[in-house]
């Protein structure tokens, strides 16, 4: 009996390794992240919504890239985990997933991480048997809490499609948050800036690329950002010419995306050098406790025209 159990354990371990895969430059964190993304895939393949949802953070939002990697084209798909769960139940009842997932890149910074995936295979309509072949690129952000990585956001249907038309800066609340962020920078008021950011926000440097795999994680949460501001603001005065190009708020007013284009210049307290740059910034915001907080900040995405 005992030897049967031992064999079973070995078989389970082997199955876990095979399903997760071991890659070069792997770390314990990337293995755990692969497990989280693997669980999401397994849940879809088994039609098990509970298993899928176990990989998702309670504060979850999803975005639709509409076939583009340019954040100016992105829209909000799900504003919350509940909205995603409701969709998932229907989806898994209606469709059978026969898909595989490759994970080209994972980047970890303290308790936040990003990953890109490519899902390929087919989705079969359970009723009609109709088959839809897919090859879909996604960009994920994850948060580690209680020793587990969970998905906080996913941007689906990334691709090389042409940029969608701008939807304009129509939301005054989002505009006000971004204006306050700019004012905080210009006045050197770190506390005012920090108040606008969620505790577990992620900051990226897009490095003038539209390839999410090239985006570099630069801030992991508000605590690190606070240390940065405390170190930076006494030495540098910012001047930001910020144009809010578009804002988009979900129907439940829980999630928002904004894109700004800005010229940032600095003057240093210790010298005469001036530094300046033009950049696009994508912001995602969530309204959880009555006020909007920045959850993601992507500097320097794409190449300013």
């Amino acid at each position: 009996m005992e030897s049967t159990m031992t064999r079973l354990r070995i078989a389970l371990l082997a199955a876990l390794f095979c399903s997760t895969g071991i890659y070069a430059a792997e770390t314990p964190e990337t293995i755990l992240i692969r497990q989280t993304l693997g669980t999401d895939l397994s849940g879809h393949r088994r039609g098990d919504a509970e298993l899928v949802l176990s990989s998702y953070d309670e504060h979850f939002a999803a975005y639709d890239a509409h076939g583009s990697t340019d954040p100016r084209a992105w829209t909000i798909r799900y504003e919350s985990r509940d909205a995603f769960a409701a969709y998932l139940q229907t989806d898994l009842q209606a469709n059978r997933y026969e898909t595989e997932r490759t994970i080209p890149s994972i980047q970890v910074r303290a308790s936040v991480a990003t990953a890109t995936t490519i899902d390929s295979g087919r989705i079969v309509d359970r009723q009609s048997g109709a088959i839809r072949t897919i090859k879909e690129k996604r960009f994920w952000t994850l948060l580690k809490s209680e020793d587990r990585w969970r998905v906080t956001a996913v941007t689906a249907e990334l691709g090389d499609a042409a940029l969608a038309a701008s939807q304009g800066a129509t939301n005054s609340e989002i505009t006000a948050v971004l204006e306050r962020e700019k004012e905080g920078r210009e006045t050197g008021d770190g506390a005012a800036i920090l108040a606008l950011f969620s505790e577990h926000f992620s900051g990226y440097d897009g490095r003038n690329s539209l390839n999410p795999a090239a985006w570099k994680l630069i801030f992991s949460g508000a605590e690190e950002f606070e240390k940065h501001l405390a170190r930076r603001l006494p030495h540098v005065t910012y001047r930001i010419d910020r144009k809010i190009i578009q804002t988009q708020v979900g129907p439940q007013e829980k999630e928002a995306i904004a894109v700004t284009r800005e010229t940032v210049t600095t003057q240093h307290a210790s010298g005469e050098a001036q530094h300046a740059l033009d950049r696009y910034v994508m912001w995602t915001l969530s309204k959880r406790d009555g006020s909007w907080k920045i959850t993601n900040m992507l500097y320097n995405f794409g190449q300013p025209e």
């Binding site: 910074r109 440097d205 930076r232 307290a269 210790s270 010298g271 050098a273 740059l277």
Partner: protein, 405 residues
């Protein structure tokens, strides 16, 4: 009481550390805040160099692009360039252990030319480290930018590696004034390492001979000071370099080094003086060639050979020494004439094959073998029947060398 003293010491130590950290931060911010090569930027580097090794860890970190995230995030590439360039310049002056690897990683095309040049310069200043030599050789071989190649060549020269000498020579003979100025500055900074190349180029025909001579004059002043360096190796190299330049300005300082504590420094100073045909140096070496101590004699032979090969300044004295009353002088002179392949001494060496002392006959045979003139065959064949088997052995060897050179 002891506890109070310990507590006071701890407080003092902690405050000293925090003051140093604070100063480093201030200098780093000043570096980030001022244009490269501006007075304020340079002043920040000078401040960091004064702090020295305690600042090195942070300077090495500032070279790394991965530093500029999180708490230390700086969004401007230009700001990073100021810090990376300044850190490399400071590290080149502080010369901390362990900086070669991080510097080597910042000289690729992923970095700006200003950053790369500062990194290459710093690698050169670090002195010989195999990893640094390999990295600079790769730039010298593969980089398309002649400025980078030239800086790599200068860096190698400072590491006592001559693989880039032709790159420097080309810069000095070519029409590009910018490259020529970099080469001149590089030779100036290379101190004794650049002297063999500098003197060779200064003696040849070329468009910048007067500039080169000015550089050599300037370097020789530095070398005279270097004769008083604590490190005997630096004193030795300075003495030899002064001999190569041949400037009369160094004669007094070199003469003073004939009584240096280091054997190698004394001989190098003597050789330098001898190549300038200074009696004090020549006498020193000829005294040493007949010294009872075999180490001194070996040194004398080596340095006299070098002097003779480089300048021919001791040829007459060597030939005259073959007829000295002192056996060691005759034997040593034969050895030097052979090593320096002095063809004009063949007749005197052939005569020495009949010397009464076997040691002299053997050395004369070896010398004739080195020179390799076929006309020496009868004298060497006569030695095959020498009563001393060592002499006969070397005569046989020398006969196999005739006509080869």
């Amino acid at each position: 009481m002891r506890a109070s003293i310990a507590a006071l010491f701890l407080v003092f130590f902690a405050s000293a550390c925090s003051t140093t950290e604070q100063k480093i931060t201030e200098h780093v911010e000043q570096m980030a805040a001022n244009p490269i090569d501006s007075a304020a930027w340079q002043q920040a580097i000078d401040g960091l160099v004064v702090i020295g090794r305690p600042a090195a860890r942070q300077l090495i970190a500032l070279l790394n692009p991965d530093l500029y995230v999180g708490e230390a995030y700086r969004e401007f590439r230009g700001e990073q360039e100021k810090l990376r360039t300044g850190s490399a310049r400071a590290l080149g002056r502080i010369k901390p252990r362990g900086a070669t690897g991080p510097l080597r990683d910042r000289i690729s095309v992923a970095y700006t030319d200003v950053e790369r040049i500062a990194g290459i310069w710093a690698l050169g200043e670090m002195g010989f480290v195999q990893a640094g030599v390999d990295a600079l050789k790769a730039q010298l071989k593969n980089d398309k930018n002649p400025v980078i190649r030239l800086h790599a060549a200068i860096g190698l020269l400072k590491m006592d590696d001559n693989s880039g000498n032709e790159e420097i020579a080309q810069a000095l003979s070519g029409p590009d004034q910018v490259l020529a100025q970099i080469a001149l500055d590089g030779l100036r900074e290379s101190k004794h390492f650049g002297i063999p190349l500098g003197t060779r180029l200064a003696r040849a025909n070329g468009p910048r001979q007067s500039d080169l001579k000015l550089v050599l004059d300037e370097v020789s002043k530095g070398l005279i000071n270097q004769l008083d360096a604590e490190d005997p190796e630096l004193r030795r190299r300075a003495a030899l370099a002064l001999g190569q330049i041949g400037t009369s300005g160094g004669i007094d300082a070199l003469s003073a080094k004939l009584s240096d504590a280091s054997n190698q420094v004394r001989f190098s100073a003597a050789a330098a003086l001898a190549s300038m045909e200074q009696k004090a140096g020549i006498d020193f070496l000829f005294d040493a060639i007949r010294a009872p101590d075999p180490i001194l004699r070996t040194n004398a032979v080596k340095f006299l050979s070098d002097v003779q090969k480089a300048s021919g300044a001791v040829e007459d004295q060597l030939v005259a020494a073959l007829t000295s009353d002192n056996t060691l002088s005759r034997a040593g002179a034969a050895q030097v004439l052979g090593q320096a392949k002095v063809a004009s001494a063949i007749a005197a060496l052939e005569k020495a094959t009949t010397d009464s002392e076997a040691q002299v006959r053997a050395n004369a045979a070896i010398a004739l073998g080195h020179i390799g003139q076929p006309s020496s065959r009868p004298q060497l064949e006569a030695l095959l029947r020498d009563s001393d088997i060592t002499v006969a052995y070397y005569a046989e060897w020398a006969l196999t060398q005739l006509g080869k050179s």
